[in-house]
Subunit: 256 residues, 2 copies
Amino acid sequence: MAHSKHTIKAFDSDLDELARAIAEMGGVAERQIAEATAALTTRDGDRARRMIAADAMIDAMQRNIEERAVETIARRQPVAGDLRQIIGTLRIANEIERIGDLAKNIGKRIIAIYGEEMPPRSMRGVNHMATLMLAQLRDVLDSFARRDIAKALDVWTRDQDVDRLCTSLSQELLADMMEQSVAMCFGAHLMFCTKNLERIGDHTTNIAEAVHYMVNGETPLRERPKADFASMLTVAVGRTYNLRLKQYRRSELAPL
Amino acid sequence: MAHSKHTIKAFDSDLDELARAIAEMGGVAERQIAEATAALTTRDGDRARRMIAADAMIDAMQRNIEERAVETIARRQPVAGDLRQIIGTLRIANEIERIGDLAKNIGKRIIAIYGEEMPPRSMRGVNHMATLMLAQLRDVLDSFARRDIAKALDVWTRDQDVDRLCTSLSQELLADMMEQSVAMCFGAHLMFCTKNLERIGDHTTNIAEAVHYMVNGETPLRERPKADFASMLTVAVGRTYNLRLKQYRRSELAPL
């Protein structure tokens, strides 16, 4: 189908608007992660409640982008590269919505552990991980705005650092729980917070893949250099456990 | 725009094909949950590995549905109710893909805890929860196939049972970990398995909402009767802890 100049212009302006909407939505998601981390560090239940409530905004933004993207497809009937831009945008909006949900989950756990003793070592770790995560999200949103495939791939590769950090944090937490130097329930909640951050990392790499697809027409090699959380956790905890066993000779601990 | 009879027929047949693809994809997701649960119960690492590998099929099915849906929008330019059918289908494919990921996560944890002692009480609980989940998923897929809004709402409401079960299972697990009657690392992995099942429940209710939207044009009341996992866990564990404190008077335990 031949497209008139007018149609092409109209399509480009639709696309620009969608890109702006994504940038705005991404900015809100960044703020939500920062708020969740701040609320966790300062044990601020009210701040957590506010950021939980703000998640509805991200959901609304996603619905809005979805509707506008579908409208654009129906009206402009884009093909090939143009169609790819729209599908990519839809995917990215979807990933940001999931990131918002995960940030909200952290907020919920802050309320659940309100008033409990906080192990400073673990909190430093969570803060460090959140900082790393925010940089990743900022970079991948930037790679989308500039259609910068090298930057997208960079984010994609760096995700293993987030995975490793998550594993070592969980290892520390489990060790603290074993020694009863942190309350069991608190430790469990903090472990889920850590895992939520790690999953935000996964969605960030999915955005990197979507950017790659929009620019290149294909998704990068499916097998990402991934540090596997589940199996690494076992190895790591086993190692800690053996070490501690030597230190304390607490034979009543169940075998790991 | 006036649509010819031919266009309407072609659109309906596109829609039927998409519905068939969703049914097929949903069937694979059901099988994946069943396989993950069976592998967990029988401690079958090979079975877990097979089901992890099979997740790629669900991902491919989603991409395929996405592409076909977008093609249909571009070719048939549906509006109003017709457009809603396509958007609903896209959303459901997306939710099933997430369900597949969560089932895969359970598989990964099975491999991580391979060879460890298994507390029968908790395993019975996980099995019960998986059975409940499978019935929910089957029902919601059925509600989609028949466009049965009452059945969809039924699934939507019943999700709180899954939430409650998740909380009580996590409570049991934490208590077992406190008493050191289950290995810390095993307990942590099993808690994540439980949480994965609970999240499969959330996506199932999202499918119920999508069915509601397809039939009625709107999403049901956003506030679902939801048993909140994070806060319930704290209350539940606090209760257990107090009980056990009386039983054992182990004052060295950190306060919950």
